[in-house]
């Protein structure tokens, strides 16, 4: 008789290099899945793949990516419309992939902090890094730009004026990478300062929004500044209210307003989250929390 102890079950379920339980797929099918995923995540196709007449791997990759762009990503429409939409991001901008906040944002919000009862109107993204920002450690990092590396300015459709004035010489993807490295090393303020530089650069909308969300989660989780997190999440939403990052920004806004102790703002944030993302895995928690708030005197 077969031994089905917990240990045996663990072995059977193990996600290792052995095949199964998914059916084996041929190399072409796997390559097509990967090409579609790269396109969906905003990675620009290789230069050779853009040339329709090219042969060999380039043409195959182009075909795979294009076919998946139409067929596979179309399957994501509906509940995952945002994801499907960014499948075409590479057509307009070869920017760095979008960033979502950490998958496991703390469910239990930090203790309420003393903040003004009402939040100011959502500032434009650059406002987060402006000199009235209360974090003194961020300030010096925002203004100066390192001259050694030449930037690749990307036209911004939302902030054309700022592009003409500010031309940071470091590419936003480099700054994001450096910020993430600092984050991994738990250098929260250094990471935040780098995110702020991406925001103040402003030349790549995707990077700006990603930096805002990442910076907001730092302020909420590690810098003890829920009010700063609220401002950043609101700025991220203002930059792209229907963007794929919007769900994370709305959820983060609900959590950070909770952390500030502003019940009305938290209730409004939860309502907004549920109105936009009713099918989200976080919706059940949002409803439960909304119910708790309603039950409060």
């Amino acid at each position: 008789m077969r031994d089905l102890s917990d240990r045996k079950l663990e072995e059977m379920f193990q996600l290792d290099d052995r095949p199964g339980p998914a059916r084996p797929a041929d190399d072409a099918a796997l390559a097509a899945i990967i090409a579609g995923a790269l396109g969906g995540a905003g990675f620009a196709p290789p230069i050779a793949a853009r040339a329709p007449a090219a042969g060999g791997h380039g043409a195959a990759a182009a075909t795979a990516a294009k076919g998946l762009g139409v067929v596979k990503l179309a399957l994501l429409a509906g509940g995952a419309a945002g994801v499907a939409l960014i499948g075409w991001v590479w057509l307009r901008s070869p920017a760095a992939p979008r960033v979502t906040p950490p998958p496991a944002v703390a469910i239990t919000a930090p203790a309420p902090a003393a903040v003004p009862p009402s939040e100011p109107a959502p500032p434009p993204p650059a406002a987060v890094a402006e000199p009235d920002d209360p974090d003194p450690e961020i300030e010096p990092e925002i203004e100066p730009a390192r001259p050694a590396i030449k930037s690749k300015p990307t036209p911004s459709h939302r902030h054309p004026a700022r592009v003409a004035v500010a031309a940071p010489p470091v590419a936003p993807e480099d700054l994001l990478a450096a910020a993430n490295a600092a984050r991994v090393a738990h250098h929260w303020r250094k990471a935040d300062a780098l995110y702020a530089r991406v925001v103040s650069g402003g030349q790549a909308e995707l990077a700006v929004q990603a930096a805002l969300v990442a910076s907001a989660s730092l302020h909420l989780e590690h810098l003890g500044d829920p009010a700063g997190a609220v401002r950043r999440f609101r700025a991220a939403l203002a930059a792209g209210p229907r963007d794929a990052l919007a769900e994370d920004a709305r959820w983060g806004l609900a959590e950070s307003t909770r952390a500030t102790g502003d019940v009305a703002a938290e209730a409004a944030a939860l309502d907004d989250f549920l109105a936009h993302h009713a099918g989200s895995p976080r919706a059940a928690r949002a409803r439960a929390r909304r119910g708790e708030l309603q039950a409060q005197p």
Binding site: M1, R2, D3, L4, D6, K8, L9, M12, F13, Q14, L15, R18, P19, G20, P21, A22, R23, P24, A25, A29, L30, I33, I34, G36, A37, L38, G40, A41, F43, P45, L68, L76, G78, A80, V83, I86, P94, A95, A96, P97, R98, V99, T100, P102, P103, E173, N180, A181, V184, A185, H186, A210, A214, S217, G279, S280, P281, A284, R285, A288
Partner: protein, 187 residues
């Protein structure tokens, strides 16, 4: 001073991919895809939607790379994103199903091709997943999150927004059903 030893070692391809390096992202995808497909199949009934959902999960992983903090195993971080994406896909497919219609998540099991291609482990896992296909979704979800993803009961309770005792009960009932389905009797 922060001791240098406190800094965990993270695969540099993760940073590269997070910075927009397509080649690095492609390499990571190649390595992750078998794992992603298998986890999706554990969670999803039937074979027919596995690759669509696996692709969707890979997109979510790639988009989230820049926020991987390196304070745990990369594969575990990926598994949780894949599970979350798959749950969202299941909910979406369920919502798209009209009353009386066969559920879009009740995909067909592919027969024939590839059967036995992976030896004994493959055969065992196919038996296992076909037994999972016959379980109630809640029990399946708890079993996979516990045994495949390695989540504890409190973590599962948090992830699926269910009470601790409910998850524990689902796990217990799921194990009993699985053992019956697979012909085992050892507890």
């Amino acid at each position: 001073m922060t001791p240098a030893l406190a800094t965990p070692v993270v695969d540099p391809r993760i940073f590269a991919a997070a910075s927009g390096d397509r080649a690095a992202a492609q390499q990571l995808c190649r390595e992750l895809l078998p794992r992603v497909r298998n986890l999706v199949r554990y969670l999803l009934r039937g074979d027919s939607r596995v690759d669509d959902v696996a692709q969707e999960a890979l997109i979510a992983v790639l988009r989230g790379l820049a926020t991987f903090r390196g304070d745990g195993r990369f594969e575990s971080w990926v598994d949780r994103i894949v599970a979350r994406t798959t749950f969202a896909a299941i909910r979406r497919l369920r919502a798209e199903t009209q009353p009386g219609e066969r559920s879009a998540i009740d995909g067909e099991n592919d027969r024939g091709a590839g059967g036995g291609a992976g030896g004994e482990a493959y055969v065992l896992r196919r038996e296992l997943v076909e037994a999972l296909d016959r379980l109630p979704p809640d029990q399946r979800e708890s079993l996979v999150l516990h045994f495949a993803v390695g989540m504890t009961v409190p973590e599962i309770a948090d992830a699926v927004a269910a009470p601790f005792e409910t998850v524990r009960s689902r796990l217990r009932l799921g194990k009993v059903a699985l053992r019956e389905a697979l012909g085992g009797r050892d507890a």
